[in-house]
């Protein structure tokens, strides 16, 4: 009897231990498989990145010795594509923290700047100027140091010495950290000023908002008056300083930010899910117009309305005479069930608005522009519009029309007659969109 008990006990324990060992071995091999897959992904990205940077060096050099516009343009477009690839490969290596952020910025700027130059050549037909070549030369030199840094990771030893997927306790990748230390910090990146989205001047834009700085009491008074409520009901939630110094105020469920300079409403939100629609588009526009005016934004013209789940998104821009200025935009959300303002945003207006004086008259007449559009387009409206163009603005004719059942906005430069943007209107689940 007793022997049998011991045998059974031993068998059960042995089986349990074996099962445990089996599961552990399986989990380990499985984990190893995933790990090597991950590592191989990073390795591929690294090899591709090295190849991209090598190609960039050659192409940047070729542009510098070439003097013909068409060849330069072709190479610039190649660089644009190649540096886009490099940026993609960098992002599959890098971590969310700013590691390799500077390198990414360099690669993105190279891409952006070359695109800008190639557009410029296409427009003017002129080959690169000596200033532009100098900027490209400095990009070339930076690229050489980047290439040297990357190549100093002798790929064979790098792979064995450095675990690509090894993460330290703070979640950063050992390989990326060392890439960051060696590449990011040792290279002097040039500062580029040009009209493109990644230009330093655009990225670090300072607001044009001017006026007197007010205290929190004045902000509360302004906010209370706007809502027709007693200022005792407005809660002061302190200051914060993003692009603007603002006072954070709230009233019930409504939270708002009012700028210290010039005391203007920067943003406001009151979350609301719509029920049955009670107010139509026209009524919502009137409500929004009234609100925008009482918030202290004058000469605003409605340019866009879109309905998303019963919330009307209405955009207004500043109108200088007959010309609308797209940089100076405020956005209003109106709930179509209650007719209440549930959102307001004036970031773009407060960043870009300034007294432009009188907008110069267009060089081309309306008829000259209309002659150039394609035959089957039915025009519904023509407006003069100032559109943002990097740091400056371009005066355009905005042509709104239909082509084969689809709505389009076409922007034609009022000086040169070039089309600078074509936007398509899409009606979908998310209301009306522009693409």
């Amino acid at each position: 009897m007793s022997k049998k008990f011991y045998v059974i006990t031993t068998i059960i324990l042995a089986a349990a231990v074996l099962a445990l060992a089996g599961v552990a071995t399986w989990a380990y091999t499985d984990g190893q498989g995933y790990r090597s897959q991950l590592e191989n992904g990073s390795r591929k990205a690294f090899y591709d990145l090295v190849a991209d940077v090598n190609n960039l060096e050659v192409k940047l050099n070729k542009v510098n010795v070439s003097s013909s516009a068409s060849y330069q343009r072709q190479q610039l477009l190649d660089i644009w594509r190649q540096s886009d690839l490099a940026a993609t490969n960098l992002s599959s290596l890098s971590t969310g923290n700013s590691l390799v952020g500077e390198t990414t910025k360099f690669v993105n700027q190279t891409s952006d700047y070359c695109k800008y130059l190639s557009d410029r050549i296409a427009e003017t037909g002129e080959p690169l100027s000596s200033a532009e070549k100098a900027a490209l030369r400095s990009l070339y030199e930076t690229n050489v140091s980047l290439k040297d840094s990357l190549n100093s990771y002798d790929v064979n030893t790098a792979v064995s010495e450095m675990s690509f997927s090894g993460y330290d306790s703070e979640g950063s990748n050992n390989f990326v950290s060392s890439l960051n230390e060696n590449v990011d910090s040792s290279i002097d990146y040039p500062e580029l000023i040009y009209d493109g989205p990644f230009s330093d001047s655009i990225q670090n834009k300072t607001p044009k908002l001017s006026g007197e700085e007010v205290g929190v009491d004045a902000a509360i008074e302004y906010f209370a008056a706007l809502h027709g409520i007693d200022k005792a009901n407005v809660a002061d939630n302190g200051e914060s300083s993003g692009r603007f110094k603002v006072f954070n105020l709230s009233y019930g469920d409504t939270v708002a930010q009012v700028t210290a300079i010039d005391c203007k409403l920067l943003s406001m939100n009151n979350y609301h899910e719509c029920d049955q629609q009670e107010y139509n588009e026209e009524q919502c526009i009137t409500i929004a117009e009234r609100f925008v005016k009482s918030a202290g934004f004058d000469n605003m013209k409605k340019v866009w309305i879109s309905n998303y789940n019963g919330i009307m998104y209405i955009n207004f821009v500043y109108a200088s005479g007959e010309t609308v200025c797209y940089s100076d935009m405020v956005k209003v959300k109106v709930a179509s069930d209650t007719g209440a303002i549930v959102g307001f945003e004036a970031q773009e207006y407060l960043t870009n608005h300034y007294d432009r004086g009188t907008v110069p008259a267009p060089t081309l007449s309306e008829n000259e522009v209309l002659d150039s559009i394609i035959d089957n387009m039915t025009l519904s409206a023509v407006t003069l519009a100032l559109v943002p163009d990097g740091e400056s603005e371009t005066l355009t004719y905005e042509l709104y029309g239909q082509y084969e059942g689809t709505d389009f906005f076409i922007y034609v430069d009022a000086k040169t007659g070039y089309e600078i943007e074509v936007l398509q209107v899409i009606d979908g689940d998310q209301g009306r969109l522009l693409i």
């Binding site: 923290n97 993003g242 939100n269 935009m329």
Partner: protein
């Protein structure tokens, strides 16, 4: 008696070892895509569920993609008929009986920007679902600010799936189905609402382990998150 007790103890021990092993291993083995459809869910997958239930004679209302009480009743009837757990929720098992696989990409079909919007809504839901509405818009705005910045990838998917950028991507919470609030917050951010004033980072000071993040200038805090440039 004593021996019997030893055997019992050994049995308990053995069971305990196996259980603990399973408990430790199970979460490592299980996929994190815990997608279920229940009352309140919306989207194309819900439509698909309704369509299949209708074809099989369990659902009679309109196929509208909204998981309401009628859909719950239909799912319950279906589960009862096939001997499944009657809970009115379409999980992996019910879904496999229905003949669909529950993938996380239950986004609305259509244009490029609408899938981007859905991805952004999933990030907001995974990262900030307990936060006030403005905080959710702010998280979505940070993603879009990164897309615009030269220091980050240039697409929404690129920014969201950048390694280690967001915890909800690492732990799989991004695959949960977003609610209406998260979708509206993503939509607002897409429409240009940015309560952060251009911030590129956010973190929860109570749980953040990265020392580096503390060195960024803090611009404002909303709910549990600090936002930084």
């Amino acid at each position: 008696m004593k021996k019997r007790r030893i055997v019992t103890a050994c049995l308990v021990l053995a069971v305990a070892i196996v259980t603990v092993t399973c408990l430790i291993i199970a979460p490592l083995v299980a996929t994190t895509e815990a997608v279920v459809y229940k009352q309140g869910s919306t989207g194309s997958s819900v439509k698909e569920i309704q369509r299949l239930l209708k074809n099989q004679g369990f659902y009679f209302a309109s196929v509208d993609g909204i998981y309401g009480s009628k859909t719950v009743a239909a799912v319950k009837a279906y589960q009862k008929r096939y001997g499944l757990v009657v809970d009115g929720i379409v999980g992996t098992k019910t879904a496999s009986y229905l003949g669909i696989s529950l993938t996380s990409s239950g986004g609305s079909s259509g244009s490029y920007s609408s899938s981007d919007l859905y991805l952004l809504a999933r990030l907001v839901y995974g990262e900030a679902r307990g936060e006030p509405y403005t905080g959710q818009v702010a998280v979505a705005a940070v993603v879009l600010n990164r897309v615009k910045s030269s220091k980050f990838p240039n697409t929404i998917a690129g920014v969201i799936y950048q390694s280690n950028a967001f915890t909800c991507v690492s732990d799989g919470q991004i695959n949960l189905t977003p609610n209406t609030t998260a979708k509206n917050a993503a939509q607002d951010a897409m429409n240009g609402w940015d309560p952060t004033g251009g911030c590129l980072y956010f973190y929860n000071p109570a749980t953040s382990t990265s020392k580096w993040i503390w060195s960024r200038p803090i611009m404002l805090s909303i709910g549990k998150h600090n936002f930084a440039l």
